[in-house]
Symmetry: T
Subunit: 78 residues, 12 copies
């Protein structure tokens, strides 16, 4: 599960930072998450996990124009 | 992000109303959202945004029979 | 909607139990839910509904390696 | 449990709406719920389920004058 | 509803205090609320309203021995 | 306090409805609440109380262009 | 109150487990709790306390057909 | 920020108490907070901080008659 | 567990009160809890249980100067 | 309302970041928000929206010395 | 951080279960967690992570008799 | 308490920023907090306070391998 750590993995003393992002997509909610991760990966290294905080969207002419997903992304601080 | 407003857009004094709906689908969670929006658009105008409140589903014979997503839909009151 | 019960359905006195599971998938969030349900159905009978509690994921090399969805599954206790 | 759907029940694509009400009673908390449902049933059809949101009450001369229960009522949109 | 104030009621500048209590009863949850209110009324004046925070209970020999309801009670400060 | 009811006020059996609105203002948060109430009063009678749910705002050129306050408004159902 | 422990009671090192159940009743909310406890007591020993998590119900023909109360039940693990 | 402590400030071992109050005002939400603080200061010493818990209000004739703000006030116990 | 009651314990009708405190310590979080309890015990009798609400702390020169733990303490009202 | 997007606005694929700030003011809560926004605007571009998270304040001599408002500010990541 | 997964770890399709436990200790809060884990490890395999849900305690003679920590423990279902 | 401000402290107009971190330790929960603070202090100045958000841990061979504490750290923005 999302938090387990296999035996043999050494992480004592590691420190992680969380940043909160909003990704958008006109395809769907999962795609909005992927877009945010992709953008984060351009400037941050050691990305480790994400958590979805909120799912919203904009409506235009009675249809979903953009899915907007707020997520937190955790990465190891060196 | 989901709430921004481009410069030049005039919304001072606007009032919006939120209604809470549950959409269902046997396809997936995004489709359940779309079904709720589509139904709302039949009677409400000026739909502006939605927020997902809860995702549930019904199980029949050990499989997902229906995805059921509760959402709030906001629209401008004229 | 997720909670309704058609007339004629007799459930007075029924008791249900909720178990909390985490399903994972490299495809997407809905698939992670389906994987958890499928596993639960192998040992539990009378599965009735599920509720999504949390959506997370693991990142490897700047991409989503696994979607991990925590859900509660309700089933009737005989 | 409250959300299950017996096999054979066809609800794909159904959309439900939730309204938030406050019922009051000088008898007790359950009676306040019943009063709200009774009132809702006078104008809404296809009532399907309710959820208790909050229980409060007014005190007069050191005794409970009114139980006040906030609930959401879900009904199918035709 | 629990919060309304009839026209003509003068409360500007009033200040209220909230105390958190737990009432118990072997009869039921409403009775536990009444017991807490009755006790509070012995030492506090101007009791105005209550809000239920939590409902719990103790089990002995597989049965409910005591219902325990946590509530907040508001009263006017003179 | 917001919930008290003076002795002599008869509300047994009354039922109230809550609607969720978003008011906006370029002045401040309180003004956004007032704008929403003013709009609600044009079509609803017996407005009794409101509760602030969320305070947000839009930024343009590094300044607050609009305060946006989500609130619930309760009114008596006749 | 629900958490006190008389002096002289030895519980150091005890471990308890919580299970989440939903009881139903056509009588009222307290009865739904009692039905869930009664069922739990058939298979679990050392039941110690419960906590109400959620109160819902099903509506049929504009009336409450079933009260459904979700609760957690704690019992000592031997 | 609300929690910082300048170097040199000695507070080890200090204990603080929190009381929950509701202030009201017909002017606005900030004024309701000030009224509650002013009243608390008449009987409590060493008031140190407050936290806003809830903002509500009463409506009369379609206008805000009273803003009612629930807050917690912390003070040092000697 | 925190809520169990041994058979033979008579608590029917008992009423408990909860007070919210903040304890501080330069040693650690548990010590901050103990300091708050110790202070409360100087003026309150029949202390029965506590619940941790929040853990914070003050930083001075990049180190933890004080752990500050907010807790609720319940005691029986005679 | 805070989330709407006029037709013709192109935001697909945009990613936003949220930062959490605390603004302070001796004037009032709205002013504390404005101070935080003003500071943020000195180093961040494309500020789009804010959300109020918490309102607190410091008390000195029984009066409000500083309003302290925690808010999240969203801005577009280029 | 608690959720990361090193590259090369294969967990696709894995399903995890969460159980909720309460550990107690007269030493401190961390020891109560360890006691619950130790007990869980006697009957469950593939324990992977835990999350602290609540920290409480019992007071006897004005001192902490038992720390009681509620936690969820996740383990892989084979 | 965590929020008080001694008289004479001048903080009007100050703005603070909050960052969210996860510290880990194989010793205990307090040590995980200290590790995160120590790391933060290497790059951030004017650290003022922290708040614990979540406590989790990883289990290996039925024992706690790492405590992982998520916290927010506030520091003054110059």
């Amino acid at each position: 599960m999302g938090d387990q750590k296999q035996e043999g993995c050494n992480m004592t003393g590691h420190v992680y930072k969380l940043v909160e992002l909003v990704g958008s997509s006109d395809k769907g909610s999962d795609e909005a998450v992927r877009n945010a991760i992709e953008k984060a990966a351009q400037t941050l290294h050691h990305l480790d996990w994400f958590e979805v905080i909120e799912t919203r969207g904009q409506l235009v002419n009675g249809q979903i124009a953009h899915w907007q997903v707020t997520l937190k992304v955790g990465f190891r601080v060196e």
